[in-house]
């Protein structure tokens, strides 16, 4: 195990900035920033990266939590079951509020898997050792066998890096979200009606709106994946830079913020997925009827208010 002295707290940054030791040389350097994950080893053509390991770690955490909590469930919950039920219960209520009771129940497993998987994938960035334990690059000279100091301090490949800071991870979840939304749309509305949302030849405006809907579907994949990637990657870099400039104290201040950002990003991703799922099972006719109903209600309310006055 190699442990760069500059990375006692999470770090991934680098560059020319360095802190000078008494002798005039750098005590440690900011690590280099790589957008892509690092391949640690390969199995045939398949690369095993540090973000993939983190996603497995997140999967294990989610599975241990849920399978542990639901293994022997009691009517009166306590301990882990109570905690998991509390979290899942809030999400069930949210799903049922947004999509209605029957659809909310049907969407919950998918939305909950996204939420909890992303939540723990985001939160792993604050675990000590993530981004800071790794394999030294060739030609480095570890101090005491495990520490990298001075010019060598940023020359290592971290073993674990937050999964959400890898576009492969966020893009995969975004693709799944959009594809599953389309599957629900086809299954609920039928092929003709669902395709009719995108290819509408009845009137020019409807046609343009349909084209915009197609563009929006692709834009959704990009916005989903880049929003999550950008937030978590930026947070990771922030913690690393602060960990290098002001070890221990700097990142600690930002841990609560990163926990909050991690939660918000997981929630936004799953909430948007839920909203798009709800929209996918609604036909244009239903939307118009709903809009007309709302308009009618508003007119009715206005009329009632007018009558009162």
């Amino acid at each position: 195990m190699f442990w760069p002295i500059s990375h006692l707290l999470p770090s991934l940054t680098g560059g020319a900035t360095h802190i000078l030791a008494d002798a005039g040389g750098p005590l440690w350097l900011l690590p280099g920033i790589d957008v892509g994950p690092t391949t640690l080893f390969t199995i045939g053509p398949f690369p095993v990266t540090n973000t993939l390991i983190n996603s497995w770690l997140s999967m294990i955490i989610v599975l241990v939590l849920f399978l542990g909590a639901t293994r022997k469930m009691a009517i009166v919950p306590k301990g882990l079951q109570n905690f998991v039920e509390w979290g899942a219960g809030l999400l069930i209520d949210f799903c049922e509020e947004v999509a209605g009771k029957p659809w909310g129940r049907r969407f919950f497993p998918f939305v909950a898997t996204i939420f909890f998987y992303l939540l723990f994938a985001n939160w792993t960035e604050i675990i000590p050792g993530v981004d800071s334990l790794g394999t030294p690059m060739p030609g480095t000279h570890p101090v005491a066998g495990i520490f990298l100091l001075g010019n060598d301090s940023n020359k290592f490949y971290p073993w674990v890096r937050p999964a959400s800071s890898d576009l492969n991870f966020t893009l995969a979840i975004a693709l799944i979200s959009v594809v599953v939304t389309q599957i629900y749309g086809f299954r609920t509305l039928g092929f003709r009606q669902h395709v009719g949302k995108y290819l509408n030849f009845r009137d020019p405006i409807g046609f343009i709106v349909g084209i915009l809907e197609i563009v929006a579907e692709f834009a959704r994949i990009i916005s989903f994946s880049f929003r999550l990637f950008g937030n978590v990657f930026a947070g990771d870099v922030l913690l690393i830079v602060l960990g290098t400039l002001l070890p221990f104290i700097g990142p600690t201040v930002f841990y609560p913020l990163e926990l909050f950002v991690g939660f918000i990003q997981a929630f936004v991703f799953s909430a948007l997925t839920l909203v798009f799922l709800s929209l996918a099972i609604t036909s244009h006719e239903d939307e118009h009827a709903s809009a007309a109903h709302t308009e009618h209600s508003e007119v009715g309310e206005l009329a009632s208010a007018d009558a009162v006055h």
Binding site: G36, P37, L63, P77, P138
Partner: protein
Amino acid sequence: MLVPHVVADLPLGINPWLLGAQLLNFGILYFILAKFAFPALYKTLDQRAATIRQGVENSERAKTELAKAQQQADGIIQAAQQRSQQIIADAGTAGERVRAQIEAEAKARAAEIAEQNRRRMAQEEAQAQNALRQQTADLAIQAASVVVGRSLDNSDQRRLVEQFLTEVR
């Protein structure tokens, strides 16, 4: 084993193998959770909801039955009060009747005793008069014997004296 290196197959580190692996990861996670964890969670939540609903219904039913029982108890208490009032009234009437009966019996008994006493007094008076009459007759005979100087026939004397005393009386 390979020397670690940064993935740079496509811009931004996108790699088809990794993308596929992440898709597979999510699929596996979703399958396990949807197959084993969430059904158990829903089952427990539904069971608890049913238990709570049953509890609320039982509570409502118990409340209704309690109100009904309270109403019945009030009715029973009211009937018991009426009955007790009736019993008290009946007891008063019966007591009055018994009192009157006892009083009547006592009066009758007193009258009987008084009558017996009066009869006994009359009897004793008659006895006393007889005794007095005999003594008087004896004294009269003795006196007459002394005055006449001769002894009259005893039976005649007595007859005469008694006749006299009867006429005197």
